[in-house]
Every structure is written in C-alpha cells, then in structure tokens.
Symmetry: C2
Subunit: 202 residues, 2 copies
Amino acid sequence: MTETKKPYHHGDLREKLLSAATILIADGGVDNLSIRKLADKVGVSRTAPYHHFKDKNELLCAIAEQGFYQQDQIVRAISTQKTDLPAAELFEEYVLTYIRFANENSETYDLMYGRDIWKAGRPTKSLKAISKNCFKLWLEWITVLQTEGVFESNHPPLRIAQSSWAALHGLCRLFNDGVYINQDDVDEIAKTTVEILIKKTS
Amino acid sequence: MTETKKPYHHGDLREKLLSAATILIADGGVDNLSIRKLADKVGVSRTAPYHHFKDKNELLCAIAEQGFYQQDQIVRAISTQKTDLPAAELFEEYVLTYIRFANENSETYDLMYGRDIWKAGRPTKSLKAISKNCFKLWLEWITVLQTEGVFESNHPPLRIAQSSWAALHGLCRLFNDGVYINQDDVDEIAKTTVEILIKKTS
DNA sequence: CAATCAATCTTGACAGTGTCAAAATTGATT
DNA sequence: AATCAATTTTGACACTGTCAAGATTGATTG
C-alpha cells in the first residue's frame, strides 16, 4: 500500500501527478495524457512518475478509482437528500444523475468503464474491488426495488441489474463517444429508458 | 471517389491493406494496428499506405465501414430467412444476432461505434452516411413494431429506438470492453433486455 | 513510337511515445 | 557522521504517425 506515502524530495508527488493527470485528460481526453507531458507539467523528469505508478496503466487505474469515489459521493447524496421521494422517482433521479456524471466527466467515465483499462485485463486490485462493490450496491438496490414492485418479478434481480445497468451505460457511451450528438436529447432518452425499465402501473 | 481505383505499381494495394488491417485488429485489437506494421505485412514501405488513406483515421473509417456492410448482411439475412416468426420473436432474434456480431467482431464493432473515430469528430462522409442509414432502418423497424403492438405506444418511436438501441449497445460494450466477463451470461442478459423492452402481453 | 505527365512508391527525417538501466541526489536512520 | 534506501535524473531503445523530397513507372499525348 503506497497510497499515502509521501515522496522524499518534492511535495506529495503522487497527488500532484494524479491531479495534473486528471486535468490533462479533462481537457483533451486520455490521448492528451502522456507520462512525459505529465512529468513536465508537474516539473519533474520524464521517468519520475514511475516511482509512484508502475505503469501508465496504473496511473489510469488510479484516476479511474478516483472517479468511482466521486461518483459514489454524488450518487450517495441523492438517497440522503431525497428521502421523501417514492422509490420509482428516486430511481429516475439516480439514473439522471448517473448519466449527468458520465456526461460531465466523460473522460474519467471512459477510464472507469472503458476498454483501455478493462480489456487489457490489467485493472488494479483496488480498482477491481471498488468497481465490483459499485455494482454490488446497484444489485442490492435493484433487489429491493423489485420487492417494492418497481421492477417486474419475472426475472432474477441479477439479470435485471445487469440489463438495466447496461442500458444506462449504453446511453452514456453513445453520448460520450460522440455517436449520439444532440445533447438536448439525453434527458428525454434517459427518462424513456427509465419508464421502459420500471413496471407499468396502469 | 477513389474507392475502386487500382494502384499502378502493385496489385490492388488498397484492398490488400484493408484486409491485412482487419486481420491485424482481429487478433490484437486496434492497438495492434500501426501503419508501419501494416505496410510491412503487405510488403510496401512505411508511407505507401498514405497514398490510399489520407490518415490512419481514414483507414480506421474504412474498416468500420466494412463492418457496417458485414453487419447489414448478417442482419438482413434474418428477416429474409425467418419470415414465419412473429414480430416479437423476430425482434429477439435480431437482438441476439446483433450482440453476437458485436461479440465475434469486437474490435470492428469498437471501431464502428467507438470514440476512436466518432469522438475525434472525424468520421468519413461515407461512414457517417452508412451509419446514419443503419440507425434509420432501426428506427423504421421500431416504428412498425410499435404499430404492431410489440412496443408500448406511450413514447415516440424515435425515443424508443434510441433508448432500446442504447440498451443493446451498452450490453455489447460491457462485454466487449471486458467489464462484464462471463460470456455465458450474455444470451440470458440479452433475453432479459428484450423482454423488458417489449410490451407485456399478460 | 517517343516524350510528358501524374499517380504511386521509397527514402530520409522529425517529433512524439512508454519504459528500462544505471547513475546521482538526499532525507531519514543508525 | 556514516550508511542506507527511497527518490529523481540522464541516457538509451524501440516504437509510433506523418511530412517532404526524390525515384519509379504505367498511361496519355503529340
């Protein structure tokens, strides 16, 4: 666990690298992030970052991990703030927030759930853990919502969780990746998706 | 239109490049495709490909375009072969086939609908055209299915088309990108998605 | 048939990239 | 004060995309 280890010669280089990297990808995408450029930005030599991240991959994993924490915070805020909402509306609120997060942090989102990290099969242990936990929370919520009648009961909750999350994710990606481009549509499509997902009360 | 233009000195270099490139990305991903390696594979100098594709981007677009043709063929085969199927089951068949295509040609699929091409905002004119047409066909079908009662009528067909396709796409991506990894689940999740999408007949 | 032209291909070059190995620096520990 | 180990730097290597300039050559024209 080198997480909180302070560098000896400079300030907290690891932190500096992380925040600088986040800025770099925020404007310019992941392609705009090179170890060398990053090192230059922070004011160290090209290979200095390698003493805090084994790889470029590990750096990306760390950024993604931050993204999960951030997303968790935002999402958690909903359930604590809007305690009076009925379950179905809370669900919609969640979905909209999730998509908004993906939209506003498209590059981070891409790292969190994108092939750059996952396809190569080299996600960090801690990244694996936090993302797994993230899905577990989703699954648990879906399970509760199903018993509350928000979702149909003709499928196991795991399947509903998987397919509903895939629906969310697909929407995020289509906008994030520039396939769907009309940003004005995103909310309406999202609401449509939600209404398709939840049980018809008619 | 330089599409069918034959090279002067060698065989049909453009075609050779395309097929070699497709092979390269098929095993090893897009990252495994470099212009230089490609040129080497075909037996020309590093910069020879630049007389047939302005860019690496244009090469990728061409591969993606091929993918669309391929997908179109596969999908079209369904509706001509299974004419006896009821609409809802035909839809399921389509979805499963779509996902299977994405799965078996994951790298091509990634090019077709991925940020590499679209996010940078530099899809070829012809690529834009064919993908747009692809969605148009989807929308038209959804419209028909809605009048046939397969989908609910409480949303405009455009929204249903967008959100249902996003659901499909999300599923494809999660498996393609290695986020969902258990390949055995894909069919079941897909079926769940279909059943959620279509109108309940109970 | 010979000269010209333009498409095609090659060679050379430049600025990037990730990352390894070895040497240099330096704060903390003995 | 000397030692040690963590940190940083310098040098190097093999890649990458792509541009500019020259060489080759099939087709076109006079």
